[in-house]
């Protein structure tokens, strides 16, 4: 899993201003690779939004007369074992993948940011407790943790989102905590504390804005990871269930026809690959725009 190194991107002491976002945007625009990522993401978002226009009819309705047909003009990517258009299912599948990815980062952020803020700001026993839980969760590779959770929670979109989302939480906690530690002792935080500002206000108005930039980078990378994990769970048959058009599940059922109709397994994989690539490109671009020294 791609993880960003917080100390390189947390801008200690520097308040995030509109001007700074302007500079980042200008750098990002010059970064062609990031732009390619952005455009690809836009294509996925548009196809998810306009799926019924791009592909009228149900993507899950079987037509056994057309089973496992090779690509033709009418079905540019061919059909699957139930005669359903692979292109149609990929287009509708982008909805599922994007919804899962958004859900996952939502879970990661909603738990990870507050816990990271509390852990870094208060320190002491609270920090120790949160960090030990984080250590334990990071003792498992993210996908395995998601796999373990899904084996308990059961299959389906909701449980896929919860399982992968929980596996992302420790990454956000670590990232946010690291940033908080680097800005906690800054003069403006001290000043806010000295005039009696409540902790909630200090955390949300003074500390959180400094964490937003690395979180944006991590979120882009996490979206890609989430799509990859969800497809992995779908492929194993314990994620999103058929007939829902999910890319990983499509690949899972295509395995049985690898020898007769390899095209069935080819295109959903390309869809997953390009989606993950685009989020990684954007994430890398954002990171370069923030700190050109840190480029891996």
């Amino acid at each position: 899993m791609t993880e960003i190194k917080e100390d390189n991107v947390c801008q200690s002491g520097e308040r995030v201003t509109e001007n700074r976002f302007g500079r980042i945007w200008a750098k990002l625009k010059r970064n062609k690779v990031a732009l390619v990522g952005g455009v690809l993401i836009l294509v996925y978002v548009l196809s998810a939004l306009f799926a019924p226009v791009l592909f009228p009819g149900s993507p899950s309705a079987p037509n056994l007369m057309k089973s496992l047909e090779s690509p033709t003009l009418k079905d540019p990517l061919g059909t699957d074992e139930l005669g359903r258009s692979i292109l149609g299912r990929i287009i509708y599948g982008s909805r599922i993948s994007l919804i899962i990815a958004l859900g996952v980062v939502f879970v990661g952020i909603i738990f990870g940011i507050p816990l990271g803020l509390i852990s870094g700001y208060y320190g002491g026993k609270i920090d120790f407790g949160i960090q030990r839980i984080t250590d334990t969760m990071l003792a498992f590779p993210g996908f395995l943790l998601a796999l373990a959770l899904v084996s308990v929670l059961g299959v389906g979109i909701k449980n896929t989102v919860i399982s992968i989302g929980i596996s992302m939480v420790p990454l956000y906690i670590r990232l946010v905590r690291g940033c908080v530690l680097s800005v906690r002792e800054e003069d403006y935080v001290e000043a806010a504390r000295a005039v009696g500002t409540r902790d909630v206000i200090i955390l949300s108005r003074h500390i959180l804005p400094n964490v937003m930039v690395p979180i944006t980078v991590q979120t882009s990378l996490s979206m890609g990871t989430a799509i990859l994990f969800a497809a992995g769970l779908g492929f194993l048959g314990i994620g999103v269930q058929p007939p829902t058009p999910e890319w990983g599940a499509m690949l899972g059922s295509a395995r049985s026809y690898l020898f007769h109709a390899p095209h069935v397994a080819t295109f959903p994989g390309v869809a997953i690959f390009l989606a993950v690539l685009s989020f990684n490109l954007l994430g890398d671009g954002l990171r370069d725009a923030l700190d050109p020294r840190f480029k891996i």
Binding site: I133, D135, F235, G237, G248
Partner: protein, 306 residues
């Protein structure tokens, strides 16, 4: 040094306790009776009662944890609900296969990833650097199971050079280990490039060059030696990705390892086995990172462990 090793060993204890708690509560989060879940769908009422008594499920939760831990430290992980064999026996039988795959994959990853990263860093912003960077990005974005399927299509279905799955000969190892290595190659190449770029711009490399040393000596003896620590760290951390990737890769290639066992167990809702395999994966990951920490001490004499 010995003090450091002991301290580092002790530091894993909270994580080990955390893992045991996670697995303990995992089973108790499930809807229904844990004894029924552990015994499986086909169990008789006597068997269920037996398990309930064995695990102390009729006692308070903290006593249950004590019983659970006493079984755990003796590596008594119960019996598989699917095959009725002891969990540890099945895990030991599969472990060597996964280790073999992981070791071959990590070796391949280092053989390709480190030189690629070095070449990329020595000629930054050249066509070869862009090529390596592009391949590395492709590698980390590629779904491992799809890569496996595509390799099967090319090398087993079309070219008929290698077997599509199974085990038995060295040919069977090639496709799964390459599949597993792809992601790690990418990661190691990216990390090697960035750390090499950093060390190549340091003062000591400039000094080495100004002394008239050949570029080869500067790169290998001065820059690479100093870039090794982050590279070793990444190799250790990527071992985790290998374990996660093993579940998918072993499923694609019907490879009889722990990953495949986990997949089969999840499909059959065989919870004692799921718990066992996840525990072993966690322990393996902790062990590898422990070894990595110990290697630091030998590789980098600057590191002092107080």
């Amino acid at each position: 040094m010995l003090y450091y090793l002991i301290k580092r060993l002790i530091s894993t204890i909270p994580v080990l306790i955390g893992i045991s708690l996670l697995l303990f509560f995992m089973l108790r989060m499930l809807p229904g009776d844990p004894a029924q879940v552990l015994a499986g769908q086909m169990a008789t009422p006597e068997e269920i009662e037996n398990i309930r008594h064995q695990l102390g499920l009729d006692r308070p939760i903290y006593e249950q944890y004590v019983v659970y831990m006493s079984h755990l430290v003796r590596f008594d992980l119960g019996r598989s609900a699917r095959t009725q064999n002891p969990v540890t026996v099945e895990i030991w039988a599969r472990l060597p296969n996964t280790i073999l795959l992981a070791v071959v994959a990590i070796t391949l990853a280092c053989l390709f990833g480190i030189p690629a990263g070095i070449i990329s860093a020595v000629r930054p912003y050249s066509w070869i650097d862009y090529l390596v960077t592009l391949f590395a990005l492709f590698g980390i974005s590629m779904p491992v199971f799809w890569l496996g399927l595509m390799l099967v299509v090319v090398f087993a279905v079309i070219l008929k050079w290698l077997p599509a799955g199974g085990t038995g000969s060295w040919q069977h190892v090639i496709l799964p280990s390459f599949t597993l290595a792809a992601f790690v190659v990418a990661f190691i190449a990216r990390m090697t490039r960035s750390t090499m770029l950093e060390t190549l711009s340091q003062d000591f490399t400039t000094t080495a060059r100004s002394k008239g040393l050949t570029e080869k000596v500067v790169v290998v003896k001065h820059a690479l030696k100093n870039a090794l620590i982050p590279i070793i760290t990444v190799v250790g951390l990527q071992f985790g990705s290998l374990l996660a990737g093993a579940v998918l890769t072993e499923t694609v290639f019907a490879w009889p390892g722990l990953g495949r066992l986990l997949y089969d167990s999840i499909s059959a809702r065989d919870y004692p086995m799921i718990q066992g395999v996840i525990l072993i994966f966690g322990l393996l990951y902790i062990f590898v990172n422990l070894v990595v920490d110990f290697i630091y001490a030998f590789v980098d004499p600057r590191i002092r462990y107080d």
